[in-house]
Symmetry: C2
Subunit: 490 residues, 2 copies
């Protein structure tokens, strides 16, 4: 027994060392600690009026609607709840189309249960519905269920990309062109996979447009370093909010064809476009209309997810990728990789099914469904407008028009004194700005450096996919802080 | 428009080529086609008496209780349904402890919604509950939430292992000792990751025991080939059903310490032990009791999952690993890798929470919960007994006693004529056997070769985690087929 206790203590000590190390490691990423210890308090606790020893933190570092107080779509939650607990199917509180949908989905599950494994690329029924959705979205361009690979969230699907990019060192090391500014999670994921990242700059002066000149410039930097194989594009852009026009997409496709680059089109914000003069057009649709020289040859992967769009269900983990024109051999590699991945979350797959096939006019759930979706869309568009107005009135802030997505990425023209102080502290001025914003106003936002920005420029990313009330409070604090900060260093 | 149509057709053609290729590729894995086109028809459709053009297939290739007709645990499904659709929390049909649990879990979710991202290693509240569960299981040995990494199912966690095993070629290429027979999915996953697999044989004659002599023998084969870094163990075993004794575990730990091997203990069947004279003891508990020379040094990762155990929720995707004694640097790599993975399914995390902290005596849900769990346990134990009895009465079949897990892995002593015919067809005799079993009785099982077996021996894996009625039908078909097969080739 004595032995037991003493070794337990040793294990305990050891574990504490581990924890200690972990703390040290985390303190490097100081922000992470904040994440763990202070929860975002926009949410139910706040509404319950619980007193906190510190100001409620507003965490806008994630593109995560529910975290920021947005409500889930009832139809989505009702169908999933009914699939989980089929007795609810006969619950009169749930509309008949909820019941029918749940029954249909359960029939598509092995053993009639969401608790069974599915095929590793997803439930064939859901793959078919996604193919129909894509085809409808693209005005009839055919889509084939066999080319659709479902995964537990699009980031997981992204990891699959690595198979597309063989590992080699030296000048033949695979390179991938990535946008700057861009989606940092994806970049850090690529980093762990031994792929050379070749940044291309988006043009802030033109509203963060993606131009072929910038792609060419990036390509030139790779000479002798690595061999570029793929081009990653986010449309709509994160954090930029830029949405490409048809002409812009055509140009990029032509460029990819000339340079023999694999196109990775991250289109997860495809149904979050609110600019009046711009609509989302998929890479696949444009490709299909460019004639066989392109439509039969350019390799394309397109990503989508239930984390964004009208439902914002980040925690359910549902995403897919569609593979087009892939070399059969590569297709084989992807298929093999998926077959070692085990199956994607069934709940995420159900959410995808609803994304692909939402209630239609005439369905009992339609009025509520469309009112909820419309409300979210209106809120987002309104928030973007209000935020741009507020930002437009602040000294030292310029902001490009935003066409889609969840974010606004204003440029901060920070006073030389602030830049000096930041330099003395060994950081960029926008990082100092964000640290102070967190300390003083408990607003947690990430500086432009996190997403990448041109040397000498500074930015901050704001997520505006939140309730109108939260946004008001966010802007109130942001404005107060910004004026104070600018004054202090002027 | 003409252009549109024609390119659409081209895309269509192209897609069909892809499909064609896919078919060809699949036909290599002939079994997969069966999977896609014939669904398992043990399940609701069968109960509804739907007529099928073919005999209902019994698919026992997966360790998937719900697929095979087992019922979910009500408490699990009620809590998750209530988390998804909080109005149900006030549904009088759900017991009060369901409501309280759902409220507690929702408070642990950002924004009070299961639709929000969580930390990449999981919800801290769930990590804490898992640590308490592990510590209770191990008689008080401390467990620390910070060492617990939650993922979307344990297979995903398994992929993380690769970081533990640096890639190199030649004699310094990382090697991992893996059991034969073993868990094929894991093996094929490792294959894609450039790790050298070093098989060690389990001793069939001793009930598939794991012996240190066999580990040593395996290690000797690596000389000059690769450098062994890790030892993978399944306890309880899949497909063997063997459960290690304390002495056996101690021996393995001593071996790992001597040879400086990292221990990977796959303990996903830890609550599926039914032998009267054997109980599950975790590697961690044994390690903690072996004195500081071991408990402070041997690196150990232990895996667990909601896919097995009392709930069998494979589709929800919830698993975790606990890391013990890891080098802080390696811990850093794992942490970084997780932080690029995005978050695990929130629904899977809720299932883990319930696994860690199930209803207790006195709770309103307890009577139903314990009756359901008890029923499943009794069914499994009963199925194992009945299957062993039936197998024991068949000519040319020998079967080791089974102590835990979902499977029975009998040895088939097939007639020389069957072996000749198989050889002529370029396959092993147990593969021929399984093909014929599928063709003639629509029973889909995998041959021993899929899991690995000693040259010249033949086996088949049966999953017995199914309802008593399904098992009866399965055994009826299996028996009829086996007798016919043996007679045909005698
Ligand atoms: C451009 C982009 N792609 C992918 C993702 C991740 O999506 P998921 O939640 O499906 O992994 C995000 C999340 O913010 C994103 O901004
Ligand atoms: C030994 C073993 N480990 C892990 C798994 C996979 O578990 P999960 O569903 O959590 O990925 C299985 C599934 O059969 C298994 O047998």
């Amino acid at each position: 027994m004595a032995l037991r206790v003493s070794t337990s203590l040793r294990l305990e000590k050891r574990a504490h060392q581990t924890i200690h190390w972990r703390r040290v490691c985390l303190s490097l990423e100081k922000e992470q600690i904040q994440m763990t210890h202070q929860k975002s308090h926009i949410g139910p606790e706040r509404q319950q009026g619980v007193q906190k020893p510190y100001k409620d933190m507003i965490d806008i570092t994630w593109g995560d609607p529910h975290r920021l107080g947005m409500k889930p779509i009832s139809f989505v939650r009702q169908v999933i709840a009914a699939c989980l607990y089929p007795e609810l199917v006969h619950n009169d509180r749930f509309p008949i189309d909820v019941q029918l949908r749940a029954q249909r989905l359960l029939r598509a599950c092995e053993g009639g249960s969401v608790g069974a494994y599915t095929a590793t690329c997803g439930i064939p029924h859901v793959q078919r519905n996604l193919a129909n959705f894509i085809s409808r979205r693209d005005g009839g361009v055919p889509s084939h269920p066999e080319n659709i690979f479902i995964s537990s969230g699009s980031v997981t699907a992204l990891t699959v990309r690595k198979t597309l990019l063989p590992h080699e060192e030296g000048p033949s090391k695979a390179g991938i062109l990535i946008p700057v500014p861009g989606f940092a999670t994806f970049h850090s994921m690529l980093e762990t996979q031994g792929v050379e990242m070749v940044p291309y700059h988006l043009c802030e002066e033109e509203g963060w447009a993606l131009t072929v000149e910038d792609l060419r410039r990036a390509l030139q930097t790779t000479r002798g370093h690595c061999s570029p194989r793929a081009l990653y594009i986010m449309n709509p852009g994160n954090p930029t909010g830029y949405v490409q026009s048809r002409e812009s997409i055509e140009e990029v496709i032509r460029f990819a064809a000339e340079e023999n680059l694999f196109l990775l089109a991250d289109e997860v914000y495809q149904s979050n476009v609110y600019a009046v003069d711009r609509e989302f057009i998929s890479y696949k649709k444009v490709l299909s209309e460019m004639g066989p020289d392109y439509s039969d040859t350019v390799e394309l992967v397109s990503f989508n997810s239930v984390s964004k769009g009208f439902m914002g269900e980040c925690g359910l983990r549902g995403g897919y990728m569609e593979l087009i024109n892939l070399d059969p051999e590569v297709m084989g590699v992807v298929y093999t990789l998926f077959s070692t991945l085990s199956c994607p979350s069934v709940i995420g797959q159900i959410a995808l099914d609803i994304m692909a096939d939402p209630p239609q006019p005439g369905d009992p759930s339609y009025p509520t469904f469309s009112a909820e979706v419309h409300h979210n869309q209106k809120t987002l568009a309104h928030n973007v407008r209000v935020t741009q107005e507020v930002l437009g009135g602040l000294p030292g802030v310029t902001c490009q028009p935003v066409m889609g997505g969840f974010y606004i990425f204003p440029r901060l023209h920070l006073p030389p004194k602030a830049q000096e102080q930041a330099r003395a502290a060994g950081m960029e001025a926008d990082k100092l700005y964000c640290h102070r914003l967190l300390e003083e106003e408990a607003v947690y936002a990430r500086p432009g450096g996190h997403y990448g920005q041109k040397e000498g420029t500074h930015h901050v990313r704001l997520c505006v996919m939140t309730t109108t009330e939260n946004l008001r409070e966010l802007l109130r604090r942001f404005q107060a802080f910004h004026l104070r900060f600018m004054k202090e260093f002027s």
